[in-house]
Symmetry: C2
Subunit: 245 residues, 2 copies
């Protein structure tokens, strides 16, 4: 499985992806699921992937081919993020359908889903989720974050904390905590985490950081959070006596 999330704030977009993939529980590997594309001063995009790894990788290869050929499907030649989201949806469904056609065994799920966020010069920054069926939706002020993959464990903290006016700091904190909760509860999501911050209108490709279990700051956040939660729970008042009747 996989867990990817991204938050579109007033001042920028924060992206985070885990790196664990598994085919069954005895075939676990580390694969990057966060890919950056961009032309300094013109555009910047991050694509995150979840689902069938072969399909995800094929789509990234097709996107790179289009860029290298500088053909009309190149993501650098699109006018809007919406166009790019649709291109990804088309690549992804073509790959999945072809895989299904060739498959020996039926019932495998060849679909992948994607988050695509970034900015094209002259346009507002945007963030889209492309579903396995190729359709897409975008983050709004009301719902500024999107998730793909194993999203349920880490959703409550984002639901509680995230709004469009948050600082990037707060979004980073919420994502680290959201990923930590997911990784504790589900073996199929694992460290390291790829984390990347895009500042609005920078139109530059950030490097981002890869956070593993030896990251001092990540461990400090995890420990502070864990101690804080336990402390909060310890300090709650005793339940009323009728709870025990």
């Amino acid at each position: 499985m996989t867990y990817c999330a991204a938050i579109r704030l007033k001042t920028g977009i924060v992206f985070a992806s885990d790196t664990r993939t598994n085919a069954g529980i005895d075939h676990i590997s580390t694969f990057k699921k966060l890919f950056t594309f961009g032309q300094q001063g013109h555009c910047f995009f991050t694509i995150q992937t979840a689902g069938n790894l072969a399909t995800s990788q094929a789509v990234i290869s097709l996107i790179n081919n289009d860029i290298n050929e500088d053909n009309e499907r190149s993501i650098y030649r699109q006018n809007t993020l919406f166009d790019i989201a649709n291109l990804i949806g088309e690549h992804a469904t073509n790959v999945a359908k072809e895989s299904e056609r060739r498959a020996v065994h039926t019932g495998n799920n060849f679909t992948s889903s994607f988050l695509i966020g970034g900015q094209i010069a002259g346009e507002a920054p945007e963030l889209f989720l492309v579903y396995g069926d190729g359709n897409c939706l975008h983050a709004t002020r009301d719902t500024p974050f999107l998730q793909i993959g194993e999203s349920k464990y880490g959703k409550p903290i984002l639901d509680r904390v995230i709004n469009y006016d948050n600082t990037i700091d707060k979004a980073i904190h919420a994502l680290l905590v959201s990923f930590d909760a997911t990784i504790r509860s589900n073996l199929s999501v694992g460290y390291p985490i790829d984390l990347l911050v895009y500042q609005n209108d920078s139109l530059a490709q950030p490097t981002g950081v890869r956070l593993d279990t030896d990251s001092v700051y990540l461990n400090q956040v995890r420990q502070t959070w864990s101690d804080g939660l336990l402390g909060l729970l310890d300090n709650l008042d005793h339940p009323p006596s009728d709870y025990y009747t």
Copy 2:
């Protein structure tokens, strides 16, 4: 959907169930999913249900019929919780198979899952999860809590907090917080919550409480928890500068 959880501690068992059921998103009702059975001084059981509501209700009816007929399948005549868990599994799979046989449309899921916890005089208290296929497992010291239904949103806090030696107070707090997180993130789980505490060796049927959004204590826990989480997040150190590169 549904969310039910139960925690078997050293000193007792705490049970919690939501009460929302839905068939599609426009047919939402309140149904009890936590049922108690017992004979003062002899035995006490709580059964919680998730899944197909018709199957769940049919199983509870069959259990009541067996009790009323005082036949050999009566849960009051079983020697162990394991026997009762198997009885429930047999009832549940019989009902689901019969529903499938009669169904006009294929593809409906007629299965239900159950938590059954309690104590028989002379036996240790136990807690079982009965799967939709009728097989079961029990809570252990290592994994003292079990969940059925929409369990992922509320699992991280239980994973982080719960251990066999916890006080009943702490288990109640963790369950309230776990349910609050689930209800905030998923429309198909809703208040009120049925909460029930069984104290080991009491062999008495507790009344329990039904907690709705007007419950003073529940609201106090929700508010304290929510404020506390936001405060914790606000107090985390700033991310290192390379997170922004």
